[in-house]
C-alpha cells in the first residue's frame, strides 16, 4: 500500500477519489499506464468500462520502464486486468483492481512491487501547480536498492523512499537543477529543467548495472490536459496528427495492433520507453 497519497487509500471504495486536477468542463478524464515492477515480464493490460463494454482499452506488451502517454477516457469506473504478454489468446486476463476516473482528472495506473507481489496502484496525477512553482514527486521502482533518498539541488524531496512507493508532490522553485538519488549500494544524478507551472514525476529505475532516473513531465501550463495526452485515444474526436518515425517504430516494435473483434473496439496499444515519452507527438490517433 502506498501511503504518500492519502486520498487513495484502500478504504476508498471502488474509487481513486482524486482531488487533483482542474475541471475541463467535459466528462472525460485522463489515464496512462506505467510498468514499474522490475522483475515482472511484459504484460497486456485491459481496462473494462462499467458503463460501456465496447470502450475496452487494451495496452499490449508493456514492459518494465514503459509509460504510455495519457489517454482520454470517459469518466466512470473501470475494471483493470492483466495478462502476461504473449499468453495464449484463450487465456483469461486476471482482474487486479478497479479505477474510478473522474472528469478533468488524470491518473497513472502503475504496476508496482516485485513479480510475486505485483499490484496495480491508481495514482492521482496533479495537473496544476501553485503560481510560479513546479511540482515534483518520486516513484521508487528500483528493486536493487530497496530504499533511496532523492534530492533536488540541495533540497531533499523524497527521504527514505521504499521500493514500490510514491512520494507526495512537492512545490519547488523553477530552474535547472540536479536530481540526486542515493542508496546503500549506488547512486545516480540527472540534470533536469523545471519550468514554472510544470508537474514532474521522477522515476527511479533499475538500469543496466546502475540506477536510472527518468523525468516525466506530467503537465504544463496549468491546463486541464496533461502533457503527452493523446486527445483522441479512446473514442475522442480530435483529428489525427502525422505520426513520427519514432512513434511508428515504437508501435511496430511492440507488435501493437488495433483489434476489432465481434463488435468490440479494442484500442491499440503502444509501447513506449519512458525515456521517449516527452518526445512523443501529441494527438495521435490509435
Amino acid at each position: 500500500m502506498l501511503l504518500a497519497v492519502p486520498a487513495l487509500c484502500l478504504g476508498a471504495p471502488l474509487a481513486a477519489q482524486a482531488s487533483t486536477g482542474a475541471s475541463s468542463g467535459s466528462t472525460d478524464g485522463w489515464i496512462r499506464l506505467a510498468h514499474l515492477s522490475p522483475n515482472t515480464p511484459a504484460v497486456d493490460v485491459y481496462l473494462y468500462s462499467f458503463g460501456d463494454s465496447s470502450a475496452l482499452i487494451v495496452l499490449r506488451h508493456v514492459a518494465y520502464g514503459d509509460v504510455s502517454p495519457y489517454e482520454r477516457v470517459s469518466a466512470g469506473t473501470y475494471s483493470v486486468a492483466m495478462r502476461t504478454a504473449g499468453a495464449a489468446a484463450t487465456s483469461s486476463p486476471v482482474l487486479s483492481t478497479s479505477a474510478q476516473i473522474e472528469s478533468g482528472h488524470a491518473y497513472t495506473v502503475a504496476g508496482l512491487g516485485p513479480a510475486g507481489g505485483l499490484r496495480l496502484a491508481i495514482l492521482a496525477d496533479q495537473l496544476t501547480t501553485p503560481a510560479g512553482h513546479a511540482l515534483v514527486r518520486v516513484i521508487q521502482a528500483s528493486l536493487r536498492q530497496h530504499v533511496v533518498n532523492v534530492a533536488l539541488g540541495g533540497r531533499t524531496v523524497a527521504p527514505d523512499l521504499a521500493f514500490a512507493t510514491v512520494s507526495a508532490y512537492l512545490a519547488v522553485a523553477p530552474g535547472t537543477e540536479i536530481v540526486r538519488v542515493t542508496a546503500a549500494d549506488g547512486d545516480a544524478n540527472k540534470t533536469v529543467t523545471l519550468a514554472a507551472e510544470t508537474v514532474h514525476t521522477f522515476v527511479v529505475l533499475d538500469g543496466t548495472g546502475r540506477l536510472e532516473i527518468v523525468d516525466l513531465e506530467d503537465a504544463a501550463g496549468n491546463t486541464s490536459i496533461p502533457a503527452s495526452g493523446v486527445a483522441t485515444g479512446l473514442g475522442g474526436t480530435a483529428s489525427p496528427a502525422p505520426a513520427t518515425a519514432v512513434w511508428w517504430l515504437a508501435l511496430v516494435a511492440a507488435g501493437a495492433t488495433l483489434v476489432l473483434a465481434g463488435g468490440t473496439r479494442a484500442w491499440l496499444l503502444r509501447r513506449w520507453r519512458v525515456t521517449r515519452l516527452t518526445r512523443l507527438p501529441r494527438k495521435v490517433r490509435a
Binding site: L2, L10, F50, S53, V80, G262
Partner: protein
C-alpha cells in the same frame, strides 16, 4: 432435514460439552435451579438453542469465509469451528480476562464475547455484522473488522454503499448487460458486492461473451439474519453454451481477491446455461488499488 440434522448435532455437542465441562456447567445449572419450578428443562432448551446457533454459525463460516480469514472466538465457539473444518492457525481464542481480537478479521460475537468486549466490540473491533444465528441471549453475530484498516464508521459504510450504487448504476447503462428487475434494484441500491461489480464489467467485455448479451438473472443473499450485507452470489446467463463456458473459464482464472469461492455451470430445464458464482465472506470495504 437439514434442521433436524443440525439440531441432532447440536444436541450431541451439548452432551459432549456437559461431559467435558461438567463442573462449571453444573454450577450454572444449580444457580438456575434455585428459582425454577422445572429445574432442568429451561436450561437445557437454552443450551440446546445456543449449541444449535454455534453449529449453524460454524458450518456457515466454514463454507463462506475465505481460506485466509482469521477468526476470533471464545473457546467453545473455536472448538466448534475446528470441528467444522477451520484450521486452528486461523483461530484467535479469546480468553478472560484480557482478550483483544485485533488481528482477526472476523469476531464471533457469542454471549461470552459480547460480555467480554462490551461496547468496544461494535465500536472498535468489528463494527459490521455479516451474519446472525439464533436469537435472544443465544444469538451469535459474525462480525467483520478488517485489521489494519480504520474501522468503518456508519458514515464510511454509507459512502462505501454509495460507491457500490454508483458503480452498479454504470453497469445498468451497459447495453451488453441485461438485468432482471430484482437485479436492477440491487445494483441501483448499492447492494452488490464490489468484487461482483468489477467481475461483471469484465465479463461483459470478454470476446466469447460479447457475441451475446449477458444477463444477470439474480443476486443472492448468503448472509443469514442480515438484510444489508452486500450480495455475494450471482446467477449469470448468456445466449450460448460457448459464452457460458467462456464466462466460467474467466471466473476460474481469477486470483484473490477476485477469485470466486464457487463458480459452476448449470443447465436449466429450458436448455439454457447459466453460471452461478459466489464470493467469500466478508465483502471487502473497497477494492481500489490506490496508494
Amino acid at each position: 432435514m437439514t434442521v433436524l440434522v443440525t439440531v441432532g448435532l447440536a444436541s450431541a455437542f451439548v452432551t459432549l460439552n456437559v461431559l467435558s465441562h461438567g463442573s462449571g456447567r453444573t454450577s450454572a445449572t444449580r444457580t438456575h435451579q434455585a428459582g425454577a419450578t422445572s429445574p432442568r428443562h429451561p436450561a437445557t432448551q437454552s443450551e440446546t438453542a445456543a449449541a444449535v446457533a454455534r453449529v449453524q454459525a460454524g458450518e456457515w463460516m466454514a463454507r463462506q469465509l475465505g481460506p485466509g480469514t482469521t477468526v476470533a472466538c471464545d473457546p467453545q465457539m473455536c472448538s466448534v469451528l475446528r470441528t467444522a473444518g477451520l484450521h486452528a492457525g486461523r483461530l484467535l481464542v479469546l480468553r478472560l480476562p484480557a482478550s483483544d481480537p485485533r488481528g482477526a478479521e472476523i469476531v464471533v460475537a457469542t454471549l461470552a464475547v459480547r460480555s467480554l468486549l462490551g461496547a468496544r466490540l461494535a465500536s472498535v473491533y468489528a463494527p459490521e455484522v455479516i451474519a446472525i444465528f439464533g436469537s435472544g441471549a443465544t444469538r451469535i453475530e459474525v462480525r467483520y473488522g478488517a485489521p489494519g484498516v480504520a474501522h468503518a464508521s456508519e458514515a464510511s459504510q454509507a459512502a462505501d454503499r454509495g460507491a457500490r450504487a454508483a458503480a452498479g448504476q454504470q453497469l445498468l447503462r451497459n447495453q451488453r448487460i441485461l438485468t432482471s428487475q430484482t437485479a436492477r434494484t440491487a445494483l441501483a441500491a448499492g447492494s452488490v458486492d464490489p468484487r461482483l461489480l468489477v467481475t461483471l464489467a469484465a465479463l461483459a467485455a470478454q470476446p466469447a461473451v460479447v457475441q451475446q448479451q449477458m444477463s444477470v438473472v439474480a443476486f443472492g443473499d448468503s448472509s443469514p439474519g442480515v438484510t444489508d450485507a452486500p450480495l455475494r452470489d450471482a446467477e449469470i446467463g448468456t445466449g450460448s453454451p460457448v459464452g457460458a463456458h467462456a464466462m466460467l473459464s474467466f471466473l476460474l482464472a481469477q486470483q484473490p481477491p477476485f477469485q470466486p469461492a464457487e463458480a459452476h455451470l448449470v443447465r436449466q430445464a429450458d436448455g439454457q446455461y447459466v453460471v452461478n458464482v459466489q464470493f467469500d465472506a466478508p465483502s471487502p470495504l473497497g477494492l481500489s488499488a490506490g496508494p
